[in-house]
Symmetry: D2
Subunit: 278 residues, 4 copies
C-alpha cells in the first residue's frame, strides 16, 4: 500500500523526518519493513503549512520514486514547517500521476491515506455520486483516497471531523456490502486544518495497517538524555507514522485498532472510532 | 486547443506524417499556424493498428512536449501502420497527465478530439452520470474529450457511429444550455474501429476549428508526377488533419462546417452532421 | 534559446516575478516576444537564497514546460527570497533533462546562460579538458552552459568574477576559432555568490541577445505613484531580464553590448566586457 | 545494481520475457532475488532489432520504474523482435535521466551493463580522455557504463569484440589502480551488432554479479514436453539473464566467472575472459 507520516510541533526542516532518521520515509520508499509492499515507488507528496500561516498549505508532489527525486531533497533541506504531512505511494492499480499523489488539499485542509477501498472500480460510481455536487469538480484524480476525502468533506469534515470520517466509512462499508464486498475498507488516515491533526486507524476486518505515534517528549528526554534531537523540539511535538522512524524503545506506541487520535495545542486526545454509531 | 491527424491507407512509418512534412505534426507542436494556441506542448499521443490486426490498437502517450520526446522519435522511425491517429495537446485547464492524452481507447476503438466542452467543470457531473455504469470505470482521466467518448459509446458508437456522436453532441448541448452556456461545444473528432475511420467537424456556434482531408490520390499523382511519395501509397489512402501538412495546391480540402466524413474500403462518404435530428 | 531573470532586493515571493507580471517569465515560456524561439518549453529552473542565508542556495528544476508545472506554481506562491535566478529553456540540441536545466550551482554560486557555444560538439572535448580536474566531477549534465560555468570557476570566478568570465570567453573563442568557427559564442549570463550579482551581455559577433535591467526604484516611484508594487521594495532592488516583464516606459534599460553589470549592497556598477584584455 | 536480459532467436513479442515469466524482468524491478539491491526502479530501457533489419536498432528508454510504465506495457505487447536487450536500473549515484538508461547505442551496436567502475568520479576524467575524440561527442549521459562502451569502441569493439572488451577492462583496471582502487571493476555486459550477441561476466575481485544463459532448447523440449512455449521457438534461441526468469531445473546455467559467451547463427561459443592477455 503506502507509507506516511504526520508532524506537528516546533518548526523543523522537512529533512529531519524525511531523510535523516535510520528508517526515514525515504528509506521506507525503498524497503518498508511493515508494509504490504516493500517498495513504495509510485509517486510521493508533501504538504506543509508555513511557520506563521495555518490556512494555506503548500503541496509538492511527484510521480517518480521519492528516493531519487532531487527537488524533494533540495526542498526538504530548506523548508521549515511546524505541521506537515508526507506520503510515499504504492499504487493499488490507479495510474501513477500527480493528481493521484497524496496529500490531497481542499482549502486549508490536507488529507492522506494508506489502504484501499476494496473493489473500488465496482463501487466508485456510487461513492462519487454521493459527493456534494459543489465539491465534485474538485476531484482531480482517480484514487479511492481522494474520493474518501471528498465524501468526508461532504459529511461534515470541516465541522465535526471525527464524526464525518465515521460517516464516510459507514457509507463506504454499506456501499461495498451492497456489492458483496466482505471487508470494504482498509485505512490509516491523517487529516488537518492547519491547527489540529487527526489520525485514524480502522479496517472493516478489524486488522488495520500499522500506525504509531511518538510518546511524550519529556519522558523521552529523561530516558535518552544524550539525544540532542529530543531537546530542540517543544513538549507538544508529536509524530504519527505508518512505521517507526528509528528503533528507540518506548518512543513509539501503536494507535489501537479502530481508534483515532487528535493532536492539538493543549491536551491531545484519543478515542474509539465507531463508523456505525450515527 | 490541440492539433491532430488521422491516417488510413497503405502501411507507412509513423514518421512519414509525424516528422517529415514541412508542417508536420511535430512542427505544429511548436508553432501551429491555424490553431487557437500556437504551442501544443501539453502532452501527445499516437494510437496505431498493426499491419495485420485491426482489433488491438497500441497506444503511446507522453506528458512532455512531442517535439523533444526521444522515444516518440524512435518509434516513429520503426513502427509501420495502415491506420493511426496522432494528437498533440494544448490543455484547456485539465492536468497534463498521461490519462488525459489522446487518443483514448476502448476495446478496438480509438477516439481523439480538438476543442472543448465549455464550462466543463459545471456540467461534468451531469455528463458523467449519463455514462453507462458499465462503462464508467473505464474513464481514467479528467478531460472533457474522454467523457465525450464514453457518452458516444453509451449512445451506440459501436453500432451507429454517426448517430451516436450526434446523440452525444445533442446531449452535451442540452446539458450546457440548462446551465446557461450559450455555445456548449466546439469539436473536431476522429474515431475508428480499426477498419473504418470517421471524422467530425462541428460547433454549437457554427464556427468550428479547422479540419482538412487529403484529396484523391490518383488526381494528385497526375498533378504532381514528380512527387515520389504519392506513388508509394494506394489509391485509397487518406489523411485527415487539423491543418495541412504541406502547402500543395489542391491537396487538401476543408471538411465543411457541421459535417462528417467516413473513410473505408471502397467508396468514402461525407454527410451532414445534425445533432438535433433524433 | 532561453529566457531568464535575476532578482536582488527586498525579499519577495517568487510568484511576483514568475507569474504576476503581464509578460512574466511563465508567459514568456509560451510566447517570448524578443527571443529567437517563441517557445521555451524544454525545462526550467529556479535557484534561490533564503532570507537569512546567502551561502546555501536551493534549486528547483523541472524537465517539463514551466507553464504547466503545478509544483513550480505552488513553490512560487510560498517561497520568499531576496536573491534568486530563474530560467526557462529552449534547447539548442542537448537533451531535456534536469542536469541540463539552469541555474547550475557550485557551492554558494549559481550560474545561468542564454545563448550558445556554436559547434559545441566540435569544441566540447577541448573545453572540458581545460576544466580544473578537481572541478571536472562536478559537471553533471551535457550543456555548453555548464561547461562555461566550470571554465569560469577554473579561471577564478570566485576571486575575480569579471576577469574570470572574460578569460572563459576568450578561451572559448580561441578554441572555436581554431576549429574554424567564425562567431564562437553568444551569451547573456547571470551569476551570483549570494551577496553580489553579475550580469553579462556579449557575443563574438557583437550582436548579443537582449538583456535589460530595472532602473532606479525611487525614480520609478515618482513616475508611477499609483503603482503599489513599487513601494513595497527597497531602493536597492534590481531586476535583470532577457526581456521586459511589463511595458512601463522608463522602467527598463538595455544592458549595452559587450558590457557587464554588478548589483550589490551600496552603489551598483557597470563596465565594459573585454574578453581579450588579459 | 541493475538487472538485464538479452534475447536472440525466433522473433517473439517483448512481453514474452519482460512480463509473462514468473520472475520476469518487470517482477525483478520490484523485487530482484539475486541482486545487490532488491529494487531496480531508476529507469529502464529496451533496444530491439526489427524482424528483417539487423542494422538499425530502436531504443525505448524511460526514467520512471519499469513496473508502472504504461508505454512499456503497450509496446511489449505489440513489438516482435528476433534480438533485443532489456535493462532495469538501480543507480549507483549518477542521475536518473534517459541518457543514463541502458542500452546505449552506437550505429548498429547496443551495449548494456550491470555493475560499476568503483570510485568512478575519481577516474572518470582519465577514462573519458582515452575515448577516441571522434567518439567523444557521442557520449550523451554521465554513467560509467556508457564510458565503458565508448572505450570498448575506441579499442576495437566493431572488429574484435572480445579483445576490445578485454582491453577496455585492462585499461579501467590500470586507471583505477593508479588511483589506489583495489577492485576497480565489476561487470556483466551484453553487446550486439544485430547479428551476434556477446555476454561477459567479470570483476576485478573474481566475484562477479550473477549471469545465466538458457540451455539447449532441444534438450529442454525433451525434458519438458508439456511446455508449449519451448516448442514455438527455434533450436538456436538463447536467453542471457542476470537472474533466472523461471524456476525450471536444468533450464539455466551460470556463465562461469571471468568468461564470455557468443551467441550467433550456427555454433555458439564460450571462452575465458582475460583482460591482461594483450
Amino acid at each position: 500500500m503506502c507509507r506516511w507520516l504526520a508532524y506537528s510541533g516546533s518548526p523543523i526542516l522537512l529533512e529531519e523526518l524525511l531523510y535523516k532518521p535510520q528508517f526515514s520515509l525515504i528509506d521506507q520508499s525503498l524497503h518498508a519493513r511493515l508494509g504490504v509492499e516493500t517498495t513504495n515507488g509510485d509517486g510521493f507528496g508533501v504538504g506543509w503549512y508555513g511557520v506563521d500561516d495555518p490556512t494555506a498549505p503548500t503541496l509538492f508532489r511527484g510521480v517518480g520514486p521519492a528516493w531519487s527525486d532531487p527537488n524533494l531533497r533540495e526542498l526538504a533541506g530548506s523548508v521549515p514547517s511546524p505541521l506537515f504531512l508526507a506520503h510515499i505511494r504504492a499504487s493499488t492499480g490507479t495510474p501513477v500521476q500527480q493528481t493521484n499523489c497524496h496529500p490531497f488539499r481542499y482549502g486549508r485542509w490536507l488529507w492522506l491515506h494508506n489502504g484501499a477501498i476494496r473493489e473500488f472500480a465496482t463501487v466508485k460510481r456510487e461513492l462519487v455520486l454521493a459527493v456534494d455536487p459543489g465539491l465534485y469538480p474538485a476531484i482531480a484524480g482517480s484514487t479511492d483516497s481522494e474520493v474518501m476525502f471528498h465524501l468526508a468533506l461532504t459529511f461534515g469534515l470541516r465541522d465535526e471531523p471525527v464524526e464525518a470520517v465515521e460517516r464516510m466509512v459507514a457509507f463506504v462499508e454499506s456501499a461495498g456490502r451492497r456489492h458483496g464486498v466482505e471487508h470494504p475498507l482498509q485505512m490509516t488516515v491523517a487529516t488537518t486544518d492547519g491547527e489540529r491533526l487527526w489520525a485514524f486507524r480502522y479496517s472493516s476486518e478489524g486488522n488495520s495497517r500499522s500506525l504509531y505515534y511518538s510518546t511524550d517528549v519529556t519522558t523521552l528526554r529523561a530516558l535518552y538524555p544524550e539525544n540532542e534531537n529530543l531537546w530542540r523540539v517543544s513538549d507538544e511535538t508529536r509524530i504519527v507514522v505508518s512505521e517507526p522512524l528509528v528503533e528507540l524503545p518506548g518512543a513509539w506506541r501503536p494507535v489501537p485498532e479502530s481508534s483515532y487520535g487528535l493532536i492539538q495545542e493543549g491536551a491531545d486526545a484519543m478515542g474509539v472510532f465507531r463508523p456505525g454509531r450515527r
